[in-house]
Amino acid sequence: MIDFDTLLQVLDSSVRLSIPLLLACLAGLFSERAGIFDIGLEGKMLASAFAAGAAAFVTGSALIGMLAGIFASIILSAVHGVASITFKGNQLISGVAINFLASGLTALIGQNWFRQGGQTPPLSGSARFNEITLPLAELLRDVPIFGKIYYELISGHTLLVYIAFLIVPLTWWILFRTRFGLRLRAVGENPAAVDTSGISVVRQRYAAILICGILCGLAGAYLSTGIGAGFGKEMTAGKGFIALAALIFAKWKPVPALWACLLFGFLEAIGIRFQNIEIPGVGTIPLQLMQALPYILTVIILAGFVGKAIPPKAGGEPYNKE
């Protein structure tokens, strides 16, 4: 059996791995709650990871990197908005295009700027978000159980990790306790009603997409300047789709989204740590099954065998004013 220290390490790495999922998942939540399907989370994250990595390398500042990442992600969000809101195009196809656009452009520009096969040079020092030791962590380190949990699991993450966790309640508050959130959810369920009450559906949807861009930007910046030390080609490696899976798994709600992302992060952490898992009486669980598990779980949820996942009613439909 695994001991307490190993368990803590696995949980600690689960938290780190779940952060990009969580940020991208909340990004998708804002967009899809407003009726705009977004399968371009992956592409926006990738573009942001590259912009953040490149800008952080050039300026030596992780913060400027982050802003550059957010900017890149917002640009792609704007493309998605123009296609799916202004020109009433197919949101899914637009998302596919954005993923390819990001994949192609980051590799192309990366090679052109740094000549390292599409990577950015490695980042160090202030060009990365460094780990923060929370107050008293060193002092409490030797306290059994709780001190260790505090030191290993809760303390010692980068700023973006704590920000990501704070965004969860913030998202809940915005969506369910503000007028803006009410309107945002309304354009995702019944845009005609919102329109009748004199509120612009178009403006509301663009606002949602803007927030989506910012959050994907944070997710990408975390990949290249938080958990990683520089941008690598295709470094999102399907994380945008796992985030999408988590969003469905969480039935488009912020707090369940947190749990779903932590669960998927945990699965990834176990896969990395143990490769093949022996379960007495069952046999070996192959690594590939662990990797596929988020997708399998999502399909089961989508199938509605364990509590049905019902997307926002007007999702995917361009709004036509009568």
């Binding site: 296609a83 020109f87 295009a97 994949s103 997708y295 989508l302």
Partner: protein
């Protein structure tokens, strides 16, 4: 509103879209510090300037015809099958199993069974998402994306643990036997005494893909089932009223779509690599989306668009060889084509419609 004449709809608008995509890509090339016109001429010369180039172009085009047809058939039923990648991967597995399992004496016997193997495996991988969409309303786009990832995990598992050739380091099967080797362009043209480069992987699957273009055209426009699929795609409620079963149409169209994607395996697995390797699909499933959009979901359009993308792929490889432009330029072009023909279609269409009807009014 009145309709645009067909030639504008299926010829002019796709060409304008392509021109814009190429123009934007030219700006990217310019930014990289290369001459776009030079790049274009290297691409075209590399893709269709020799029998070697043609051999590769048509090899790629064959993959794209199968995946493009796959996306098209689903489009006709208003299903967006984004799972071509996974279905083609499974189809490759089916083809490989057929090739490995029997001591084939000649490809004439092996090919029909391999076609069935690829089609059945591809269709099977589309069956669960199709069923969930038809019966439980689970969104086909999301489920097929999930199935792409599952397919890739499954293939890695099988190649690493089950199918790997004994004694081999690489996660790939052993080479297929001589009796399962498909004739290449060199072989086939050789029968008629025509010289053709020996190295490119184009093979008899190209002719099979042309055959399937015809089959699909016949199916969609000349059969009752095709009519039902199109009727369902235009209006689900009207189709239901006419007694067409939505469950049947969703299932049938998605199974055909998956089977077509799976057929890609005869070209890439049986024809080219002659063994099953990890990631035999290499993104062709996604290019099928661009091909179907550009070809307006018509088999003839798909054929032309597939050859165009074949040229882009082979030309892009040549470009990476001779200039500082990385291969990823093709991905950018592909993204722009999908964006312009698929999502921003109205941006091009609306001004053209206005202009056309203004001219019509001025003329009468």
């Amino acid at each position: 509103m009145k309709k645009l004449p067909t030639w504008i709809d299926i010829l002019l608008i796709p060409l304008i879209n392509l021109a814009i995509a190429l123009f934007l890509s030219a700006l990217v090339v310019l930014y990289i510090g290369e001459d776009p016109m030079d790049a274009l001429s290297i691409m075209i010369k590399g893709a269709i300037g020799s029998s070697y180039g043609w051999g590769y172009t048509l090899y790629y085009a064959t993959n794209f015809i199968f995946t493009g047809l796959a996306v098209s058939v689903a489009f006709h039923a208003k299903m967006f099958n984004i799972g071509g990648e996974g279905q083609a991967a499974l189809g490759g597995l089916g083809v490989a199993l057929v090739c490995l399992m029997f001591p084939w004496p000649h490809w004439i016997l092996a090919l029909p069974v391999a076609i069935i193997g690829g089609a059945v495996f591809g269709a099977a991988w589309a069956a669960i998402p199709a069923y969930l969409q038809a019966k439980r309303g689970s969104h086909i786009v999301i489920t097929t994306i999930m199935f792409n990832f599952m397919a890739s995990a499954l293939l890695v598992y099988l190649l690493v643990n089950v199918l790997k050739a004994p004694g081999s380091m690489a996660p790939e099967t052993g080479r297929f036997i001589e009796g399962a080797r498909l004739p290449t362009g060199h072989d086939m043209l050789g029968w008629f005494g025509i010289k053709f480069s020996k190295s490119p992987p184009v093979n008899i699957s190209f002719l099979i893909s042309l055959l399937f273009c015809f089959f699909i055209w016949f199916l969609i426009w000349r059969t009752k089932l095709g009519y039902e699929i199109r009727a369902f795609g235009h209006s689900e409620s009207a189709a239901k009223y006419a007694g067409i079963s939505p469950i049947k149409i969703i299932m049938v169209s998605m199974l055909i779509s998956g089977a077509l994607a799976g057929l890609m395996g005869i070209n890439s697995v049986m024809g080219e690599s002659e063994r099953l390797v990890i990631d035999s699909v290499q993104g062709a499933g996604f290019i099928g989306i661009a091909v179907a959009l550009m070809g307006r979901s018509h088999p003839f359009g798909v054929l032309l668009a597939a050859i165009l993308f074949g040229i882009l792929y082979q030309g892009g490889a040549e470009l990476a060889l001779w200039t500082n432009i990385p291969r990823e330029l093709i991905v950018v072009i592909q993204a722009l084509v999908i964006l312009l023909t698929g999502a921003l279609d109205n941006m091009i269409r609306m001004p053209i419609e206005r202009l056309y009807f203004k001219m019509v009014r001025a003329g009468t």
